[in-house]
């Protein structure tokens, strides 16, 4: 009995270290998040309760909906690009016999590139006189205004982010591929299935858990973009690369409106959640390998 109680006391002792810490650095901000969202406050004095006013304001906020469209715009470029590229990467890697380590490392080094440094790097690579435009000019006699054209700027950022994440997502899909038993493919071959049929009827369905993981990671990433537009475009041209995080940051620290900024963060999280739930409902399937 006393042994059991000693164990319980030790357990609570250890866990309470975390609970105390989390009460301060998670619980307290959590409460403040709710206070801020329902009040008006400018970093000084005490918050004034305004009910749902901050949320109503969002629906009339043209910039917020511009930001929403920008994010949808980003998703519409980023998801197909990164998804197709990483699934091709995974399939090719699965078939490779030599140089596998070299290829994996080259793609993954992009993944560990640091946000600020890689933004600076791509800003110059895509700049007017940068190597990409110089190559295009020499080959086709054209240059492309990667970051200055309102239509193109978000696409360029999506290309950068794709460069960074293909290796990571590709490897998640690759480990999904490796988990598929070879015998299923062999059985299908005996039944005379072509590689096209095998891809659509076996590979894709059995890869479902990995695909859902990648899609959710990619959506969450898209709602959290900050460094790239902050460093390169500042949200321009014409607010076309303004993201939720950048808008939140500007609202809190340039317009000195932390309560509205918190409301933006909550709305962003809600939109993010609903898209993730939508993906799970539509795409996620139970996979059973017999």
């Amino acid at each position: 009995m006393s042994l059991k109680r000693r164990e319980a006391r030790l357990g609570w002792g250890l866990v309470s270290i975390y609970l105390l810490y989390t009460a301060i650095f998670w619980g307290y901000p959590f409460v403040w998040m709710l206070i801020l969202a329902f009040s008006r406050w400018k970093f000084v004095g005490s918050p004034k309760f305004v009910g749902l006013q901050n949320f109503f304001r969002i629906f009339e906020d043209k910039i917020f909906w511009r930001v929403f469209l920008n994010t949808m715009n980003f998703l519409s470029y980023f998801i197909p690009m990164v998804f197709i590229a990483s699934i091709l990467f995974a399939i090719a890697l699965n078939r490779m016999k030599y140089f596998k380590t070299f290829v994996t490392l080259s793609f993954l080094v992009a993944y560990v590139s640091s946000g600020v440094a890689y933004s600076i790097m791509f800003q110059r690579i895509f700049s007017e006189t940068g190597p990409i435009n110089r190559f295009l000019y020499n080959a086709f006699g054209i240059t492309i205004p990667w970051f200055t054209d309102p239509q193109l700027a978000m696409l360029t950022i999506a290309i950068m982010v794709t460069w960074k994440f293909v290796g990571y997502y590709g490897l998640i899909l690759y480990s999904g591929l490796q988990a598929i038993p070879k015998s299923i493919f062999e059985a299908a071959e005996l039944d005379g299935a072509t590689s096209w049929v095998k891809f659509w009827k076996i590979t894709l369905p059995l890869l479902n858990p990995a695909i859902v993981t990648v899609l959710i990671l990619a959506v969450n990433l898209s709602f959290g973009i900050f460094t790239e537009p902050y460093m390169i475009t500042g949200g321009g041209p014409m607010n076309r690369t303004l993201t939720f995080m950048l808008y939140m940051y500007n609202t809190a620290f340039q317009r000195i409106n932390p309560s509205y900024a918190t409301t933006i963060a909550i709305m962003t999280a809600l939109i993010n959640f609903s898209i993730v739930i939508f993906i799970r409902k539509v795409i996620e399937k139970e996979v059973t390998v017999v």
Binding site: M248, Y249, A252
Partner: protein
Amino acid sequence: MRKKMGEIILHGVMILLALIWIYPYVWLFLSSIKPPEEIFTRFFPSRITLEHYKYIFTMAEKMERPFLRAFFNSLFVTLTVTFSVVFTSSIIAYGLSKLRFKGSNAVFNFIIFQMLFPGFMFIIPLFVLIRKLGLYNTYSAMIVPFLMSAWSLFMLTQSYKTIPQDYIEAAKIDGASTLWIIFRVMVPLSRSTLSIVGLFTFIGIWDNFLWPLMVVKDYNKMPLSVLLATFNHEYAAYVGPLMAGSVIQTLPMVLIFLIFRKQFLQGISMSFK
């Protein structure tokens, strides 16, 4: 025969793509050792120079952009946080996984619940807290909010759960104390999870940008990421030094990745389960 051709083409294409993928890094590195006039005109430098590195360490100092100091700031903050996360989660996870007491499951579920919330929801309220605690513009502001992490606790608890209870009983019979059990039995057996936690914490903190941008205004306390960003905003014309600064900021992450690539790959295949 046709199959063989296909294989050769596949390997050729993948190697070519791999080269394209590291091209930006090669360009960045070569730009940092090129004479300034060649950055946008040549790929390979006609001569190698270290003037950009010299510039960023000496001149930047005079422009009140102390790069060397920022490098050590980053190192200090990142190592402190990484050490603390690894240390606290190795101990606390023991309580969650191996000690039976009422409420341990509830705490574990709470940790999972915490992980549902994206970090950006709390960033402004956390800023309010840091100001109230008087930590604005201090090293503590970059360190204290990250000393423990729900994700690391979760990862390590899961890993501890797979260790058989017999090992612990055996150690107890030999008269081992709790700390001895944690650091001589649990930690060595969960080494791979622990190194994944350490690696991802290190990279996350080293690369953190938004948070230090919000809480540190003093150039002498800035981490490398924020200092490099201010340098880019104010001295964008100094392309060479900027490239050198970017190389310096990226290097630790790339090195750590290359050294621990095995743990990295493990971490990635885990993120799918």
